[in-house]
Symmetry: C2
């Protein structure tokens, strides 16, 4: 570790939070943007729910342990982390499923329009779900249009019902200007749907203040809720009268336990519930969110920018930015919490890094991602990652025959 990194770690106010996580001291885990590390509090919470609640109290737990309220409880815990007042966030299903609900609602909010506009190059599930909806509704009622960022403003025409954008791009780590783009959507008469998968928990958000219409986000990245943790939806209160979503399952009914024959949506975001939620996974996320009581997203963002800035400098000093293309913007406000590098041998580099204890990930066909989770990553992690990558590049270890074949699941 360099003296500079040691000094930065010594003065890091978030450093004590690292001990709230289970981490292998032999590795530097730089993949919290894919799967957040395990908060130690989750272990007990899950154990208690499985053995104590389910095991001992069985069906009564839906009431006595408030399982039935968990989608709201967890949603309300997330709300202040994304700049939302109470009553607008629900923890439910996956991002994919929730996009379908929100896109349907968005089309219902702009019945005279039929286009879903999005950026090409966002995480594919967003476009796939819009394709599924468009195919189901047919071209007279829904069309997905994808454009590059430079064509976005031109494409925001009077056909656009919903502008669907991801705040931080999963490949480049670029952070888009939510205020400006939300304003542009509204000026064009569209509603805006933000995917916060790579920003919730690490970028300060002000959904209410910006008048954002709708958002989805992820429980298992910077919220550390565990593999496949349930996702969340946000719907601005001003649209609560017009929730229209076709995945109208029984728990989204206004009186689910009356078992009435016709669907009558619960008020507001509660109508986004569908089936019975996976309680054990939801309890894990609920416990994981308690870590945020020790700090603020603003403090997390400060450290995030310091970490990625420091890492970028280290790459520069080691001559790596001449060998690999940095896709992540240099300006702090345009940067998420990762540094993405492009190289033809990115797959081999990712594998050599992992073998050396620097856990990163790879995105096909040629991107190496270094994700920084300020709740548990240190400046020493950044030094180790840069030094290890420098070694691998210098020694051409990425070209090892073991890395010649890339598996289908990366």
């Amino acid at each position: 570790v360099t003296a500079e990194a040691a000094a930065l770690d010594a003065q890091d106010a978030l450093a004590p939070l690292r001990k709230l996580f289970k981490l292998n001291p032999a590795t530097s885990y730089l993949d919290g943007n894919s799967l957040g590390a395990l908060p130690l509090g989750v272990i007990d919470a899950v154990q208690r729910t499985v053995s104590g609640e389910w095991g001992d109290d069985l069906i009564a737990s839906w009431n006595t342990h408030n399982w039935i309220d968990l989608p709201v409880t967890v949603g309300e815990k997330i709300a202040p982390l994304i700049g939302a007042q109470a009553g607008q966030v629900l923890c439910v299903d996956s991002i994919s499923i929730n996009l379908f609900k929100l896109l349907s609602t968005g089309l219902a909010l702009r019945p005279e329009r039929r286009v879903i506009l999005t950026l090409s190059g966002d995480f594919p599930t967003d476009a796939y779900m819009a394709q599924g909806l468009a195919q189901l509704l047919g071209p007279d009622r829904c069309e997905l249009r994808r454009v590059s960022a430079d064509r976005l403003h031109t494409a925001l025409d009077t056909d656009v019902a919903v502008l669907m954008l991801t705040q931080v791009n999963y490949r480049s780590g670029e952070c888009y200007d939510m205020a400006a783009l939300t304003r542009a959507a509204h000026e064009a008469g569209a509603v805006v749907l933000w995917d916060l998968a790579h920003s919730a928990g690490v970028v300060p958000l002000a959904l209410d203040a910006l008048g954002v219409d709708m958002a989805v986000g992820c429980g298992y990245k910077y919220f550390n809720g565990g593999p496949g943790a349930p996702a969340f939806v946000y719907l601005n209160r001003r649209h609560h009268d017009v929730v229209q979503q076709p995945l109208s399952g029984w728990l989204g009914h206004s009186q689910a336990f009356e078992f009435s024959p016709d669907y009558l949506p619960a008020p507001g975001v509660r109508a986004f519930q569908a089936g019975t939620p996976p309680i054990i996974s939801m309890v894990a996320l609920n416990a994981a969110l308690d870590v945020f009581a020790h700090t603020s997203v603003a403090a997390i963002r400060d450290k995030s920018l310091a970490l990625t800035e420091h890492f970028r400098e280290l790459l520069q000093e080691r001559g790596l930015l001449e060998r690999l293309e940095c896709l992540t913007p240099e300006e702090p406000e345009r940067r998420g919490s990762q540094i993405s590098l492009r190289h033809d041998q990115a797959w081999g580099m990712s594998q050599a890094l992992i073998e050396a204890g620097v856990i990163v990930d790879f995105r096909a066909p040629d991107i190496l991602r270094f994700g920084f989770a300020p709740l548990y990553n240190s400046f020493a992690d950044a030094v180790r990652a840069a030094d290890t990558l420098a070694d691998i590049v210098r020694e051409e270890r990425y070209a090892d025959a073991r890395y010649s074949k890339r598996p289908a699941v990366t």
Copy 2:
């Protein structure tokens, strides 16, 4: 306990399996049709996944611990329990969400037809999801029709694309004739979608042999997968070329990790995957299913019928069938694994039973359900339930003022 029940328990080949579950010896748990009891093996499996896999191996666990395969792994474990050959069952999402996928596929299988036909009085989420789809598609493309059982054959006309039925009714416990109704649907040119929520794991099923087109089922009732455990879908192999489902999330893509811009469905049932699955909840279900390695659904069914028959006789002997209306058919082949009784004071009775340690449930407005889970219920449980109910009725304890107000969540 009566001598007869003691003798039945003594000769019960499934009795030793009770020790595989965490059960409170002070209660008789007769609500496994709502939430199955906790198999002890689940405790370790969940702990290992949370602390050992997620905690220690983090993102690598998707491959090294085969998380990515879990939807298929669990699906294949369920397959033999429902009479399905390999490659046709997937564990994914909730029943509600899965119904939307299958109903869409069903309409695509019969493009010249537009009616979803179902029975009134089935669990409401089935009709709600069909309503959501019908409303989204509009009356030219989809209409939900609900009829009573006696009108079903007449209503099976040439407009019907999908006949959606639940094998065992959640209120009455009536078990419908899957062979005859599947044949009737096919003779009318429709495809059939069976909801197995109250039959999978407790009624022998032969989906392949009967040529059933599609099915959904529940992970948290007789499969004991834990609260809100993921559900499953079955799609008969002969339809695998025409899977068309609009919830086209990234994990249902044929090459998810290529992150290609356009959705291309994975082959067969894998296309029913959408978002990232809740791994911790899925691991619990995976471990719970291991209990079935010790027995067969046929043996479970034999004991189920013996339990419900015995309970019915006990009710009869105690004069209770004159005081409460038994909704569950007497003929064994028409009976699921529960006995449902109707009474104006059913709510008070359910609460008095629970206070006396007999855990049953109530379904609005007036139904008392006694669910029998042969993996852990005994004939002694049946005696205790009948005796306790007899006491409550004789002493009119159901009329206690504490039970006068029924909460919204029951």
